[in-house]
Symmetry: C2
């Protein structure tokens, strides 16, 4: 058997960061690469991203969005056009300055062919896309323009963390242009809701949709909407954002159209993105000290069947039954893998557990004889004997149950670690006790926000859309506040 | 209506290169970008690539291949490890030298943060992948390793041509490691046959599979297999390649395994790739002076329904019928679009013709009354009246017919422009008459190959696998030859 041993995963209570890295390593999701901050997505990790792509792509297309592809390299001057964008955003990025390698006498290569204008590897594509959109759009009849791109992105991060913050990562970025402000605002909201439904229904991650503050919004946007999730350590993770860009980029890149009255107007724009970072969110929301736990709706393999045998005769009957059960499940759109390898069952069980497969079915000679199978849930380790004839129906129901259980467990966790706080003392005290979400009144000033961050390391996550009307006092300065905002330490 | 007019497409006989660019532009496949040699794939062009991806990805997975993702950026030193690879390959590429932009007082940005070691944007991924494979592979039990990656690639091309040769392009690259030479050779062949089947069955492009000469092989490979297609101007286009890498890269990157006898051995490797360049091949194989022609098996839209009406009453009944017909086709896995726009039908017909939709169905008030529809083929412009009840069966059959017709037409064309030549005079004379495939005996020396290229601009395309045994004389030097090889001018 293929070097499977029960490698230790650090306990969460011992070292949460180490636990996170161990889970990723033991599940075989990522590998280190020789390039600082860049990662190798191993087949199992990439398979999760492929499922995410497939589901989201369909959801986007249902809203009328079409895919396209724009250049990886962006002229430096493009970043100089939108002043806020450049100041807030285009800082740490990969700069291409040469277009050739020349072979030296000693066999080494030297950069040659210096470019007149340096090119930047896209840290996001607003600038390059909108310079092209300006040619595509002439009149209101060309609107709305609804484009999405699946692409790789490079942002030169000093401190990296697998999935959450890496120099290169994969994402999708949607970019739309509309004839009116209202339409663009509706689209901004529609897409954050697409992300919310996706996170909740597929990733089983409860999220809080809301608006970012001025300090935390995307540089160049009028405002940014976000979905915020709570990880098992009480920290927040931003899982997707949708930006109302207003006419800011349209003015910088001349995205104009003739309206129905024959007047030239600038387009109203949105952009929205979700990245491989959500895989980090899946891990930190659901997994346990035994390794990864994947929600059935996003698991590349939903059920693993592990045949158990001690001689060739047993093997034949056990494999025959495994194949029959797998076939029936596959015919009903369940993704199944049979572990056909030689070797003892114990290490196999541990391996599939670490890979987070939602259900394990064990089939041994006694099962063939008795007509019962052993079915084990990954989420709570419950083991049941199930009649072979009932296996399909039972498994299908169990997949739904596991999906629901993971969502509810995460929601309960978040509720248990979210506090309404009404004074600065309370705010600080809670945060000293534990990392958590603090629903606090806030006056809206960047100064208070900054002070809170300085004093507690908690940042503003979002002003939730869904909250009851309530007049209160800013938790920091005591001035009048009309909304609560979430503060938390964040990834 | 959206600016649709019958824009002129240059005739092929007038200017073939201009015709090619016009077809791409008028079909809305690509757009220019502000970055030299980089292109924007518009939604319709990208939709073709998405279909290619979907079909090929399934074919790869059926052979046991798994997808993964490796870093975009490769340390310069990696290219210095495989001597032939660096000499023959890693020349014109994008070099990243800085990781930051700093804002100047005048609002411009300056590259800063120079990297210790320059990074190269992948021109292909052998080096970065194999440095990681060396960690993944310990023993024969870890083999075969079968990996594919869908990715963007940058090669700094001086002369670019849309789809065929661009600075950035999209492709897939497969990379496999095997325990024996035989297995790697089998895989090399298996994958070139996957490409061949794909090209012939989906793209309707007849191709000739064969082996490249030493001069034309991939730098670092033992040998390269290829599929070569003939374009409508008689020039050759390489549509996909599969390389037997032997142990060359394995030795450079230490890809070793313990064999069943407990001995350390280097892995036997293959790599194989197919890119967006095949979209150029589709265009140049099938299209005509009226624009793009897409084979049904690769067309994002297989049938367009254009309703025709003059008043609201007519519109209602015509749209009702269009919706019914479209629904029936969609239920039978035909991809259909109804052109719901206002405006005269003429410009719409021209637009869909330029976009190469295989079948156009026209539905007007007279059709509603008579129970017949007008069905028009894109490949030969034949128009037929079809009873509504028969529309589904007729259309399905017609899609198959069009697919077959396109393939056979291209095959006839290739046969009519392929010549067995047996002397140097004949060789030169043929090539002066027309661009064509010249099946010529060749002694195997790089010198003759080079001379032929110098004197005629024809390059060796491949030694076809499928040829009868025959002893002949090299068309250039007269020495003994055991195989014919194809010479042609090429893209």
């Amino acid at each position: 058997m293929n070097q499977v041993k029960k490698d230790k995963i650090t306990k969460r209570t011992e070292d949460y960061s180490k636990w996170y890295l161990d889970v990723i390593h033991e599940a075989g999701l990522l590998d280190d690469s020789p390039v600082k901050g860049c990662l190798v997505m191993r087949p199992y990790g990439y398979a999760i991203w492929e499922k995410i792509q497939k589901i989201l792509d369909l959801k986007f297309k249902e809203t009328g969005v079409e895919n396209a592809y724009f250049p990886l390299l962006i002229p430096k001057s493009f970043f100089e056009k939108e002043a806020k964008h450049v100041a807030g955003f285009a800082k740490e990025c990969a700069v291409v300055t040469h277009h050739r390698l020349e072979l030296n006498n000693d066999g080494t290569l030297i950069p040659a062919g210096q470019l007149e204008e340096p090119l930047i590897i896209r840290p996001t594509s607003e600038t390059i896309m909108y310079s092209v959109f300006s040619r595509w759009i002439q009149s209101y009849r060309d609107l709305p323009l609804l484009i999405n791109q699946w692409a790789n992105i490079v942002r030169w991060e000093m401190r990296t963390r697998p999935f959450l913050r890496t120099t290169e990562f994969l994402w999708q970025e949607g970019h739309t242009v509309h004839a009116s402000k209202q339409e663009a605002e509706d689209k901004t909201l529609q897409m954050i809701n697409v992300y919310r439904d996706f996170a909740e229904q597929y990733l089983a991650i409860p999220v809080i949709p809301g608006v970012k503050t001025e300090s935390e919004k995307f540089a160049g946007a009028d405002y940014t909407t976000t979905i915020e999730a709570m990880m098992q350590d009480g920290k927040a993770l931003q899982a997707g954002t949708s930006h109302m860009l207003g006419q800011n980029f349209a003015k910088a890149f001349d995205v104009k159209f003739l309206d129905q009255q024959g007047q030239q107007e600038y387009g109203w724009q949105t952009s929205w993105g979700l990245s491989t970072r959500v895989i980090g969110a899946i891990i930190m929301t659901h997994s346990d000290d035994n390794g990864l736990i994947l929600p059935p709706n996003i698991a590349p393999i939903q059920i693993v069947i592990v045949p158990v045998w001690t001689n060739e005769e047993e093997k034949a009957s056990v494999f025959a039954l495994a194949t029959k059960v797998a076939g029936e499940l596959r015919d009903n759109e369940v993704s199944v893998k049979i572990d056909e390898r030689e070797g003892r069952p114990g290490p196999k069980f541990f391996e599939w557990e670490k890979k987070g497969i939602p259900i394990r079915i064990e089939i041994g000679p006694r099962d063939v004889a008795s007509g019962n199978l052993v079915v084990v849930r990954r989420d709570n380790s419950v083991k049941e004997f199930v009649a072979i004839d009932n296996c399909l129906a039972f498994s299908k129901r169990l997949l739904t149950e596991i999906q629901d259980n993971l969502f509810n467990r995460a929601l309960e966790y978040r509720k248990a670690h979210t506090y309404n706080v009404n004074s600065w003392d309370e705010f600080k005290a809670k945060l000293e006790q534990e990392d958590c979400f603090l629903m606090s009144h806030w006056c809206g000033s960047a100064e208070c926000e900054e002070k809170i961050k300085e004093e507690t390391k908690a940042t503003s996550r979002c002003i939730p859309f869904d909250q009851k009307q309530e007049i209160g006092k800013c938790v920091y300065c005591g001035n009048k506040s009309e909304k609560r905002i979430i503060f938390a330490k964040a990834y």
